[in-house]
């Protein structure tokens, strides 16, 4: 038994809900009316495009194409992280790309190969949506982490220099900032993990249940997804900072000017 289909006409009825925030934004003069309309339109076009594309990809189920799709997602994610963190593309793009690719693919390999034990590790039905979910979650956390880390490093130069000048190794001096940014980036994920099921029903579980899965199976998947999100997010954030550190400091331990 699958989820009940939504006709195009009914989908149109669903769009009527968007009128509510638009009216509220106009009433309160928030200035987000156009942004909301554009975002809704973009979301619709993107999802229809992805839906059509995924249908083809699922039908082909070719490992190389699946991998290529995931690599494209990782590249777009890396560009987005660097842009949103307001960091220099020159120094940060490659390290961030390496960090996201390493952590997401490692966690993917463990989950799909060891836990689910897929015969075909790059199976489009599992590999693409699960990687997408991991990347999506890593994205916002990584933006928070890099933003907080490098902006506080550049705003609190004296703190870093004081440590460096009075006996701290470069790693010790940087660890103060790393600790703070890890807390800021990972706290929301840990909080979400702690309350899942109580105040929020995650999208994946809901989707599986609507798709006709046994709720117990859906829950098991959801548990694994929460764990993989937590681990891949932590890995991405730590690796991003550690790899970036190798490129963005000069020989004196000072942040390069970008």
């Amino acid at each position: 038994m699958g989820a009940q289909d939504i006709s195009w006409l009914d989908l149109g009825l669903g769009y009527l809900l968007v009128i509510l925030p638009i009216v509220a934004f106009r009433y309160f003069k928030v200035g987000l009316t156009k942004d909301t309309a554009v975002a809704t339109l973009r979301m619709t076009v993107q999802l229809i495009f992805v839906g059509a594309y995924l249908e083809v990809i699922f039908r082909w189920n070719n490992g190389w194409i699946n991998l290529l799709w995931v690599i494209a997602m990782i590249v777009i994610a890396a560009f987005t992280v660097v842009k949103r963190s307001e960091l220099s593309r020159k120094y940060f793009l490659v390290p961030v790309l390496l960090a996201i690719a390493t952590s997401v693919l490692l966690v993917d390999a463990y989950f799909l190969g060891v836990v689910i034990r897929l015969d075909f590790l790059l199976d489009a039905r599992y590999f693409i949506p699960i990687t997408g979910m991991l990347i999506g979650n890593c994205l916002s956390n990584n933006i928070v982490a890099l933003n907080s880390y490098y902006h506080s490093l550049s705003n609190e130069q004296t703190l870093y220099r004081f440590a460096l000048a009075n006996g701290a190794s470069r790693n010790e001096a940087l660890s103060l900032f790393m600790r703070d940014s890890l807390r800021k980036a990972l706290n929301p994920t840990i909080a979400t993990t702690a309350v899942v099921g109580l105040i929020s029903l995650p999208g994946m579980m809901t989707g599986q249940i609507l798709g006709g899965s046994n709720p117990m199976v859906a829950i098991k998947y959801q548990i694994m997804i929460m764990i993989t999100i937590l681990v891949s997010t932590m890995l991405t954030v730590v690796l991003s900072i550690l790899i970036c550190n190798r490129f963005v400091f000069d020989g004196y331990g000072m942040l390069k000017k970008s």
């Binding site: 004296t158 000048a165 009075n166 006996g167 701290a168 190794s169 010790e172 020989g251 004196y252 331990g253």
Partner: protein, 207 residues
């Protein structure tokens, strides 16, 4: 101990230090003076490798400051910045902050050394248990100075060390600094009392 030869530092098109040359002998206590923006802080930053000169040579203990030598040079220096906001809770944490770094762990001062140092700076040992938010700026400044003296590095760089001190505690800090026979001190200051107490003055405005 320190040799500065034809030092020039620019930030973009703005020249901050021009053709500065001087030497510091071992154990000497020198004040760097000059109007705001004359390059006092920049000079200390050059010695620490935080700012790179556009021209000139800086050597510490015969070793030229460069990317390959800066780590070992920094191991022989203590540096007091003009302003410091460490995210710490207690005075004890502030005093022992540098001793938490691996390199300084062997240098942990004894209780007696700490007590003597605090007393020399007119601070009572009980201050260690106070919260940082409960002590004055002057007390905090003296705690950091105490901490750096206890590190026993051969070169001490102080950036406005008396900015938050009253004249009595200033005198105590001066006496403590002058009493460090084997430590070379280079301090930038606007404070005439402090500058008069130092053995020599380098005036950046006279360049």
């Amino acid at each position: 101990m320190v040799r500065i030869e034809d030092l020039n530092v620019s930030f973009g098109n703005e020249k901050v230090i021009s053709n500065l040359s001087f030497e510091l002998s071992k154990g000497e206590k020198v004040a760097v003076v000059g109007t705001s923006g004359s390059g006092k802080t920049t000079l200390l930053n050059v010695l620490m490798g935080f700012v790179k000169p556009s021209r000139g040579v800086v050597t510490v203990d015969g070793v030229r400051v460069s990317a390959s030598t800066i780590d070992s040079i920094r191991r022989g220096i203590s540096w007091l910045p003009q302003e410091l906001h460490l995210k710490l809770d207690t005075v004890r944490e502030l005093l022992f902050y540098p001793f938490g770094f691996k390199q300084n762990q062997m240098m942990q001062p004894s209780d007696r050394e700490v007590e003597e140092m605090l007393s020399a700076l007119l601070l009572d040992n009980s201050i260690l248990d106070k919260q940082l938010c409960d002590i004055s700026g002057g007390q905090k400044q003296r705690i950091v100075i105490a901490s750096l003296i206890l590190l026993k590095r051969p070169l001490l760089l102080l950036d406005e060390p008396t900015s938050a001190l009253d004249s009595v505690s200033k005198r105590a800090v001066v006496d403590a600094i002058l009493g460090l026979k084997h430590v070379t001190v280079l301090a930038s200051s606007h404070d005439s009392e402090w500058n008069d107490a130092m053995e020599r003055i380098v005036d950046l405005n006279s360049k």
